[in-house]
């Protein structure tokens, strides 16, 4: 993709991998991290952004990410797609793709063993455009992690429905009720607007994994609380 020496220490460089995929590479004190080349907000090249060795900032609207995980910080509303990189003979190569679970807003950065245990629970499912994943009143057993495609929500039943938003970024999580006590059924319908690939994880089984790694469980629950607040809250200090 490029020479290691081309990426300045605590700097950024846009590189192109074989096949034309563009990445921005960040050099964090000699460790290299690869991400999607443009900001998920407005397609601004991230190589023009600001980088202090730990936090990557898009200069346009100051969205920020943790360079180790791609997790959103501060004003950012979406994670960065992260790509594994390999260093060989002074050059950088594209490694394997991170999975939706790895980059996901709930699970990224938790212990590798716990991610593996969660990954063992995953059922990968593909849906045609228009497929309905659940309707109000259906049992809320599973959470979903979006891998690709687009899912739309409608709150309410019959003629009394209101749009409940939509998911379009790899790693976004929905169907959180499966992780909560006292919410056994769905309150919205979820429908794929495009051909979509989803990771389905049984909520009780995921909670079982997190109970065995309480520090990861604490992180996941903090993020879940922030996620729910983001959907319920007004703009607050934004």
């Amino acid at each position: 993709m490029c020479r290691v020496a081309d990426v300045p220490e605590n700097g950024l460089k846009e590189c192109e991998a074989e096949g034309g995929l563009k990445l921005v590479v960040a050099n964090a004190g000699g460790e290299f991290f690869g991400f999607q080349a443009v900001c998920p907000h407005q397609d601004v090249p991230l190589c023009e952004g600001l980088f202090d060795g730990a936090t990557l900032t898009c200069h346009m609207h100051l969205w920020q990410w943790d360079v180790r995980s791609g997790a959103p910080l501060g004003l950012a509303e979406a994670p960065l797609q992260r790509y594994a990189l390999a260093v060989e003979g002074g050059s950088l190569y594209l490694g394997g793709d991170a999975t939706a679970l790895d980059v996901g807003e709930l699970f990224n950065g938790i212990a590798a063993g716990t991610i593996e245990a969660l990954a063992a629970l995953v059922r990968r499912e593909s849906y045609e455009p228009g497929a309905v994943l659940y309707r109000p009143g259906d049992p809320a057993d599973d959470i979903f992690v979006l891998d690709s495609g687009r899912v739309e929500f409608l709150i309410g039943r019959g003629e009394h429905t209101a749009p409940g938003g939509f998911m379009l970024n790899k790693g976004e999580v929905f169907g959180w009720a499966a992780l909560l006590d006292g919410y056994p059924t769905r309150i919205a319908s979820a429908r794929c607007l495009e051909a979509s690939t989803l990771l389905r994880v049984n909520g009780k089984a995921a909670l079982g994994v997190l109970e065995r790694d309480p520090s990861a469980g604490f992180v996941v629950m903090r993020r879940l609380a922030a996620l729910i607040a983001r959907y319920l809250a007004s703009s607050g200090a934004r």
Binding site: H41, Q42, D43, L50, D52, T57, H59, H61, L62, Q64, G74, L75, E77, A162, P163, G164, G165, F166, M167, L168, R230, Y231, A233, S234, S235, G236, A237, R238
Partner: protein
């Protein structure tokens, strides 16, 4: 006309008047739709048509480079609905906070146009109805016979304002700027929409204020200083103003800034000339340095960033340089760096 906007987190419904830009209709309804310039430049108000048709009032808007028309994308600040319409915005959208100044369309009469510097005018608009706005906000203005709106920050601050005050730098290609620079415009009626903008100051902030402005970007800072002065804010908090211009001849508001200098440290940065000896003689309360405005701030602010909220305004390169300095060197968090990019 019934408009539905589906955002990442939920949907909103509101009414639009015939011909009304969708952004303005939504904001007027108290829905905090995404925007920055409100005038077709930045592309932030991009939306995607789901159902219905839009009329694009300015197909050549510079912000159109951010949209894919073939995918049904359009700028909400330039497009009106032809009939009931559903659009989608790929952002989280919230209702405006209770108590915020909801923007409205209104009209006013141009009064008191005067020259501040060789290429800078001050002008005022007497409003037909008094309006509330926050210090640091702007409105968009349309002059008779000049297509489109231009954004200008208010320099003054008061609740229930009957008069808004602005500054305008002459731009050779600016329609509104050319229009205003022609003599005898006072008394003409202008259309406004606002207030807009999130680079606002409220005294409840209780932080030290750092204002970095290039050229006419000083306008919003004057409103912030006026608001702070009304509340005796600087008896409890510190304040610094850095005002960048090319040469002393380009500077203005130096009298007003001198009047603030008892409570706020004001530095004028001259980028294109050494500081003339006459500068400190004429304005003894102000500091003058040679250099770019963000460099002047960087040099003077070392070790003073505890509990600081920074505001940046002016030409985009000056704002970008200030933001870069504030994030990477001053290590301010993004919520303490406020700016509106609309020029």
């Amino acid at each position: 006309m019934r408009i539905q906007v589906n955002a990442r987190n939920r949907g909103y419904e509101f009414e639009a008047r015939p011909g009304e830009k969708l952004l303005y209709a939504g904001l007027r309804a108290g829905i905090d739709l995404p925007y920055e310039c409100g005038t077709g430049t930045c592309g932030t108000c991009k939306a995607k048509l789901v159902a219905g048709r839009v009329h694009d009032g300015w197909p050549a808007a510079p912000g159109r480079k951010h949209v894919k028309p073939e995918a049904g994308e359009f700028l909400m600040c330039q497009c009106a609905a032809e009939d009931a319409l559903t659009a989608e915005v790929s952002k989280f959208v919230y209702a405006m906070e209770p108590g915020s100044c909801t923007p409205e369309a209104c009209a006013g009469v141009l009064r008191g146009t005067r020259r501040l510097a060789h290429d800078v005018l001050a002008f005022g608009i007497e409003l037909e109805q008094p309006r509330d706005f926050d210090a640091g906000q702007f409105v968009v203005l349309a002059a008779p016979g000049v297509p489109g709106y231009r954004a200008y920050s208010m320099c003054n601050f008061e609740r229930g304002a009957q008069r808004l005050e602005f500054v305008l730098k002459r731009k050779p290609d600016g329609g509104f700027s050319q229009w205003l620079h022609e003599a005898g415009r006072d008394g003409d009626r202008l259309q406004l929409f606002g207030p807009l903008g999130k680079a606002t100051f409220d005294p409840a902030l209780a932080k030290n204020l750092l204002c970095i402005a290039g050229g006419s970007g000083i306008a919003g800072m004057m409103a912030i200083l006026a608001r702070a002065a009304q509340e005796r804010y600087f008896e409890r908090h510190r304040g610094w103003v850095f005002f960048g211009v090319r040469t002393l001849r380009d500077a203005f508001f130096l009298g007003e800034l001198s009047a603030c200098a008892a409570s706020v440290k004001v530095t004028v940065a001259l980028s294109d000339e050494d500081v003339p000896e006459s500068a400190s003689r004429s304005w003894p309360q102000l500091a003058f340095v040679r250099g770019l405005v963000h460099e002047a701030a960087r040099d003077a602010m070392v070790g003073k960033y505890q509990n600081v909220r920074a505001y940046a305004a002016g030409p985009p390169p000056a704002v970008d340089a200030a933001i870069r300095m504030l994030l990477l060197e001053a290590k301010l968090t993004t919520d303490n760096i406020r700016y509106d990019k609309f020029s």
